[in-house]
Symmetry: C2
Subunit: 312 residues, 2 copies
């Protein structure tokens, strides 16, 4: 039996995960990032213990804990080298939690953990596998021959920071023109707001008002009701997503590529236009093609992936 | 003892290569691509035999032949699945040459072969290694944990067809905005000609006249003599090269990245501005950095790499 923990900027989510990667029970607590690393580490250990005991296990019955955390993770030493969302710098999380609970702890970058979870969920048959997560930012994870590609310094697979438009839109990383600056939900919301400003009669206004805010769904919902301005937003956004995916396919030619994150809930409204753009921009015209699909595990990918990496 | 063959659109170049990857002798014949695959295959076999015998070996003394060829190569079956420069389609080159000479033959994509050659030349110590070739097009090869990353369909590592500018300059592949359309020598020549048209007093005109043509060197030579228009071309071109390299570093975070191809002869005039741009655009700010350098083997990389892959 394993425990997977998804350490996020807002919440710490944990799940009791069996050998096959199924979540048997889950629980969460607020992260309280401002409290510093010791309090967060202690909360993670408590949460792991509680979820085990609530479900009839002692913590010593748990084979290992896997943690997915944002930032650059030295997976060999179990250290968060650097994280932006949660102010960690060289924190030996694995050693500390392992010390508190006396079981093995493995820590992994959160997008990598989610990628590994989705890889297992697809059957783990692909020789190479790419996971893209479209959320607040754009993250990625790459599995080649069953192994996460982390880069020599553990900072690799930052697929959201590939260029889409040299000297284009400002990105949170300090550069301009990163794919993330066009294909994240944050970017979609910005694109939606701009179209709303330019189209006062669009039903996007009504939809946003009902929802209480402009969200990543606003344009997709309005477009499905025939709103022209919203269709324009969706067309452009799916072009951004698809063009970036095509770029990544030209690098890896992965057997499978899975799209996750908030926007992936749009399903075929996202997938079909993306597939069309990729089929146009894929350099490979004569060999078998990458299979592109929507994530299966959605929010559970991080917990399951972290647990399954710890299982290894 | 091995033989490496670099099958190009213009010439077939071959070398007798020892265990350590040193070329002991080399020779070449015109490709004559229009003659079709059987004539080319027969010439490759003859060239291999001749280079062995001229140097005191029988062809049966050769352990294996390695061939680097343009296009998509099914390395497991030894088949050129598709090639653009040389009109091959599903040609079982390895089997045919092996049949003619009765020794093992391995065939590999030419950029991959060159990448592998440069990887060995750097000491083969890097956990991950990326090779970029700036020539007529922009090619690439990626070595992870000592193994070429080919993609599930052998069509991977087309790094020149990552996006630099969505909907930008037309690329020979049929898309717009590929890195190759900005960073190839072909693109540099186009950029140079444009600047020459706009600057009739630039010394680029004089340099091109002396050389008999505008080449990839024209702007670099003029810039080194202080020509402002040429400096503008070099600054922009090195930005294109550097920005694309930064994108690729954000994907792989390779331990080493080597720049080859015609323009790599510019050495520090290319390398130093590229390093500056990469240091600005590299997403990784806190972990060790990718070492970027100029290719060591230059034109021999393909022959040596192909031979060393055959050695494996």
């Amino acid at each position: 039996m394993f425990i997977g923990i998804d350490l996020g900027g807002t919440n710490i989510a944990a799940g009791l995960v069996d050998e096959s990667g199924k979540i048997l029970a889950s629980d969460s607590v607020p992260t309280g990032a401002e409290r510093g690393s010791d309090a967060i580490i202690s909360d993670m250990a408590d949460l792991a213990k509680r979820i085990a005991e609530k479900n009839g296990y002692k913590i010593s019955d748990i084979d290992a804990i896997g943690i997915g955390a944002p930032g650059t993770i030295d997976t060999d030493r179990g250290v968060v080298a650097y994280s932006n969302n949660i102010p960690f710098r060289n924190v030996p999380i694995a050693e500390k939690i392992s010390g508190l609970l006396n079981i093995p702890v493995h820590i992994e970058n959160d997008a990598n953990a989610a990628a590994y979870g989705e890889y297992i969920a697809t059957g783990a048959k692909a020789k190479s596998f790419v996971f893209i997560t479209l959320g607040t930012g754009v993250g990625g994870g790459v599995v080649i021959d069953g192994k996460l590609m982390r880069g020599f310094n553990y900072a690799g697979a930052e697929l959201g920071h590939c260029l889409l438009v040299l000297n284009g839109e400002a990105c949170t990383c300090g550069n301009n023109g990163c794919w993330e600056a066009y294909a994240s939900v944050t970017a979609l919301i910005r694109q939606t707001k701009k179209a709303m400003d330019e189209n006062p009669n669009s039903i996007m206004h009504e939809i946003a008002e009902k929802e209480g805010k402009v969200s990543g769904k606003t344009a997709f919902v309005a477009a499905s009701r025939g709103d022209e301005a919203a269709k324009g937003v969706v067309d452009k956004y799916t072009e951004y997503v698809g063009a970036g995916i095509a770029s990544i396919i030209n690098v890896f030619q992965p057997e499978e590529l899975v799209i996750g994150g908030g926007i992936s809930k749009e399903g075929d409204n996202l997938l079909i236009p993306v597939q069309k753009i990729v089929s146009r921009m894929d350099y490979n015209k004569y060999m078998p093609k990458t299979k592109i699909s929507i994530a299966k595990l959605y929010n559970d990918a991080g917990i399951i992936g972290a647990a399954l990496i710890a299982r290894k």
